[in-house]
C-alpha cells in the first residue's frame, strides 16, 4: 500500500509554559496521514493526542506554543502547503474549509445563544459558500439532512439546549462538513455521548467519509472503536508516538510494552476474568519527564538503556513502527 499523504507532521514539539514549569506535552512527534484512510491516535488522557490533532492547524492557545516541527498539508497529490508558514487569514481559510474538527463535547462546542442553523450558516458564510446568513440558514437544512438529523427544518431553528446530545453532535458534524473539507479530525467524537448513540454516530461518520472521499483522523481512548473503524493506528504515550501499525497488525502483534499493556487492560467479554488488568504506576509529569524512554518507570521489560536513551520510532516490519529498545540488536 503506497501512501499518498494528506498531512505530514515532522518532529512536532508543543510546550505549555505554565507557572509550574514548561510542560513538554508533545515532544518530537512525526506521522503521516494517507489520503482516504482512517488514521487513529490512541492513548490515555493527557498523552497529547488532542494537542497533536489541534497542532495540525496550529490551533494551540497560550500558554501553549508550537516550539518546533514541520507540518505539511497536501490539498491534492504533489501540492504541498507549509502550515507553519501560513498567515492567520490563510489558516482561517484552511480551518473549516480544508481541515475541520469535531470536538468531544457537542454541548460545549455550540454557542448556546444561537440557533443551530445560524451556526451552520455562518460557518458557510465565513468561507464564502453563501452570500448571507439568511441563505446560509436555508442551506443549513440541507446540511443537517446529510448528517441524518431528524426533522432538519425544525432542528435548524432549535437552540442547542433544545437538542439531545446525539443531535447536537450531528449538528457539530454538519457544521464541520458544511464546507466540504478534505480532512476531518474527530477528537473523541462519541466520548460525551451515550453508548447507544456511539455506534450510530460512528457509522454516520464512516458513511460520510465514504461518500465524500474524506480522510479521517480519529482520536480516541477507546480500543473498541479503534478495532472497528481504523485503518492505521498510532499509540501515544506521554507526548510521544510509541507505536504505529495497521490496525490488525497492532492487535495481533503489538510490539511496544505500553501497547501490549493497553490491549491487555481491555476486558474480554467472552472470558471470565478474576481481576481487571491495569498498568501499574501513573502517567509521568511532563514538566520533568523521565529521561530516556518515557515509559520506562512503568515498563516491566525496561533495562539500562531505556533509562538513559530515548528510543527512536523505527520500522521493524512492513509499516509497523515502534519506539522501543527491546527490538534493537
Amino acid at each position: 500500500m503506497e501512501c499518498d499523504p494528506i498531512v505530514e507532521v515532522k518532529d512536532l514539539r508543543v510546550y505549555f509554559y505554565t507557572y509550574a514549569g514548561v510542560v513538554k506535552a508533545i515532544d518530537g512527534v512525526s506521522f503521516k496521514i494517507c489520503r482516504g484512510e482512517t488514521y487513529c491516535l490512541v492513548g490515555e488522557t493527557g498523552c497529547g493526542k488532542s494537542v497533536t490533532s489541534r497542532a495540525i492547524t496550529r490551533l494551540i492557545y497560550p500558554p501553549g506554543r508550537i516550539v518546533s516541527g514541520e507540518i505539511y498539508y497536501y490539498p491534492e497529490p504533489g501540492k504541498r502547503v507549509n502550515i507553519m508558514q501560513l498567515s492567520e487569514s490563510e489558516l482561517r481559510r484552511l480551518r473549516g474549509e480544508e481541515i475541520s474538527y469535531i470536538f468531544q463535547d457537542p454541548s460545549a462546542a455550540l454557542d448556546p445563544l444561537y440557533v443551530l442553523g445560524y451556526q451552520v450558516g455562518e460557518t458557510m458564510l465565513a468561507h464564502k459558500r453563501v452570500k448571507s446568513v439568511k441563505e446560509g440558514m436555508r442551506r443549513a437544512v440541507e446540511v443537517l439532512r446529510t448528517v441524518l438529523m431528524p426533522d432538519p427544518e425544525k432542528r435548524a431553528s432549535s437552540y442547542p439546549h433544545e437538542l439531545s446530545g446525539g443531535m447536537k453532535q450531528r449538528g457539530v458534524i454538519g457544521i464541520s462538513l458544511s464546507n466540504n473539507p478534505k480532512l476531518l479530525i474527530a477528537d473523541e467524537p462519541t466520548t460525551a455521548l451515550d453508548v447507544t448513540i456511539q455506534a450510530q454516530l460512528m457509522d454516520l461518520l464512516l458513511d460520510l467519509k465514504r461518500e465524500r472521499g474524506l480522510t479521517l483522523l480519529l482520536i480516541t481512548h477507546n480500543l473498541g472503536l479503534v478495532a472497528e473503524y481504523c485503518d492505521r493506528v498510532a499509540v501515544m504515550y506521554a507526548g510521544n508516538i510509541v507505536e504505529e501499525a495497521p490496525v490488525e497488525e497492532l492487535f495481533e502483534k503489538p510490539l511496544h510494552p505500553y501497547t501490549q499493556a493497553l490491549i491487555r487492560a481491555v476486558p474480554n467479554p467472552t472470558r471470565r476474568i478474576e481481576k481487571l488488568e491495569h498498568i501499574p504506576g501513573t502517567v509521568p509529569n511532563l514538566v520533568k519527564p523521565p529521561p530516556g524512554c518515557r515509559f520506562h518507570p512503568r515498563c516491566p521489560k525496561a533495562f539500562d538503556r531505556c533509562r538513559v536513551e530515548k528510543p527512536p520510532l523505527k520500522e521493524y516490519s512492513d509499516h509497523h513502527k515502534a519506539a522501543c529498545w527491546l527490538y534493537e540488536e
Binding site: R54, T57, L59, Y61, R92, R93, L94, R95, G96, E97, S100, Y101, F103, D105, A108, A109, L110, D111, P112, L113, Y114, V115, E122, T123, A126, H127, Y159, H161, V172, I175, S176
Partner: protein
C-alpha cells in the same frame, strides 16, 4: 407569546404583596417611634390643641393601626394624600423631584456604560498585563472610595479651583416636552440649556457612578473571560470564523450577567441618591426621602418608599424580560 403574557400577569400579581410589604414596614417603623406626630405636624410644643385635634381627626391617628394604614394607602394611591408638613400632595412632591433624579440617573448610567464596559473588555483582552492591573486596581479603588470624599474632592477641583461647574439651582428651560430638561434641550437643540444642565449634573452624576463603574468593569472583565474560555470559542476558531464574528459571540455570551447588573444599577439610581443629592444640593428623590425622615413626615416617606418599590419592581421585571430575549435558555 402566551407564555409571556402569563408570565407578566404572574409577576404583576407578586407586585402587590411586595408593595404592601415595603409600605407597611415603613409605616410600622414610623409609628412605633415614640413621639406625637400630630403635635409635631401642628408646629411643636406651641401648637394649639385645636389644630392638633384637627390633625388627629383628619389623618385618623386615633384609629387602630391597620385602619390608619389602609387610609394612608388609599389616599396615597388616589393622590389625595396631603403631607401634613409641606401641605402639598405627596405624589406631586415626588413627581416634582423626579426630573432631577432622572437626569442624575441618565448621566450616571452613561458614565457607567461608556467607562465600565470598555474598561472591563480592555482588561479582559489584555489580561495579566500592566493595563489589566491598572484597571483592576482602579476598579477596586472605585468600589472602596467613600462617595462623600470623592464628591468634595471634585467640588474643590471643578468648582472652587476652576469654576467649571455650578452648584446652585436646577436649570429649567422655558419649554417642556418630557419635563426633563436634559432630554428636552436635546430635542429642541437648545445647547445653551444643555450646557447648563451638564454643568450642574455631570459631576454629581460622575460621583454617583464612580463605585458602579469599578463594579461593572470587574464584572464585564470576569464574564468576558468566562465567555472567552468556553469550548465554543475554540470550535469557532476550528471552523475558521473571522475574529470579529468570534467576539460578537463572546460579547453576547458575556453580556447576560452584565445586563442583569446594569438593570439593577439603573433601578437603584432611579430610586434616588441621598448622599450625592445632599452634597450637591440637588432636590431629587433621595433628598426627598431624607427630608421626609428629618421632618417626621412619614406619610411623605411612605409615598416615597411606595414609589421606590414600584420603580424597583418594574426595572426588575424589564431586566427579566430582557434576560429572556438575549438568553434563549431562560423560560418564563
Amino acid at each position: 407569546m402566551a407564555n409571556l403574557s402569563r408570565f407578566l400577569v404572574r409577576r404583576l400579581a407578586t407586585f402587590i404583596p411586595t408593595l404592601i410589604g415595603v409600605t407597611f414596614m415603613t409605616f410600622l417603623i414610623a409609628t412605633v417611634v415614640p413621639g406625637n406626630p400630630a403635635k409635631l405636624w401642628a408646629g411643636g410644643e406651641k401648637a394649639s390643641p385645636e389644630v392638633v385635634e384637627q390633625i388627629i381627626r383628619e389623618y385618623r391617628l386615633d384609629r387602630p393601626l391597620w385602619e390608619q394604614y389602609f387610609f394612608f394607602m388609599y389616599k396615597l394611591l388616589t393622590n389625595t394624600m396631603i403631607s401634613p408638613v409641606t401641605s402639598n400632595y405627596v405624589w406631586d412632591m415626588i413627581m416634582e423631584r423626579l426630573p432631577v433624579t432622572i437626569q442624575l440617573t441618565l448621566l450616571a448610567f452613561i458614565f457607567i456604560i461608556i467607562l465600565g464596559i470598555p474598561l472591563g473588555i480592555i482588561s479582559a483582552l489584555k489580561r495579566d498585563t500592566i493595563i489589566d492591573a491598572v484597571i483592576r486596581i482602579m476598579a477596586l479603588v472605585g468600589l472602596s472610595v467613600p462617595i462623600f470624599w470623592l464628591a468634595y474632592l471634585l467640588i474643590f477641583f471643578f468648582f472652587t479651583k476652576y469654576r467649571i461647574i455650578t452648584l446652585a439651582g436646577t436649570p429649567e428651560p422655558p419649554y417642556s416636552i418630557t419635563g426633563i430638561p436634559l432630554i428636552d434641550s436635546i430635542i429642541m437643540l437648545d445647547f445653551g440649556t444643555l450646557v447648563d444642565v451638564l454643568k450642574r449634573y455631570t459631576i454629581p452624576a460622575f460621583t454617583l457612578a464612580y463605585p458602579s463603574i469599578g463594579f461593572v468593569a470587574r464584572l464585564v472583565r470576569n464574564s468576558f473571560l468566562d465567555a472567552m474560555s468556553g469550548d465554543y470559542v475554540e470550535f469557532m476558531d476550528a471552523r475558521g470564523l473571522p475574529p470579529s464574528w468570534k467576539y460578537r459571540h463572546i460579547l453576547r455570551n458575556s453580556f447576560i450577567p452584565v445586563i442583569t447588573v446594569l438593570g439593577l444599577i439603573f433601578g437603584a439610581l432611579l430610586t434616588g441618591a441621598p448622599i450625592t443629592e445632599t452634597i450637591f444640593g440637588l432636590p431629587g428623590i433621595g433628598k426627598f426621602l431624607l427630608d421626609s425622615i428629618n421632618n417626621y413626615d412619614y406619610l411623605g416617606l411612605m409615598g416615597g418608599v411606595l414609589f421606590v418599590g414600584i420603580i424597583y419592581l418594574v426595572v426588575n421585571l424589564i431586566v427579566d424580560i430582557t434576560y429572556a430575549i438575549i438568553d434563549p435558555r431562560v423560560r418564563y
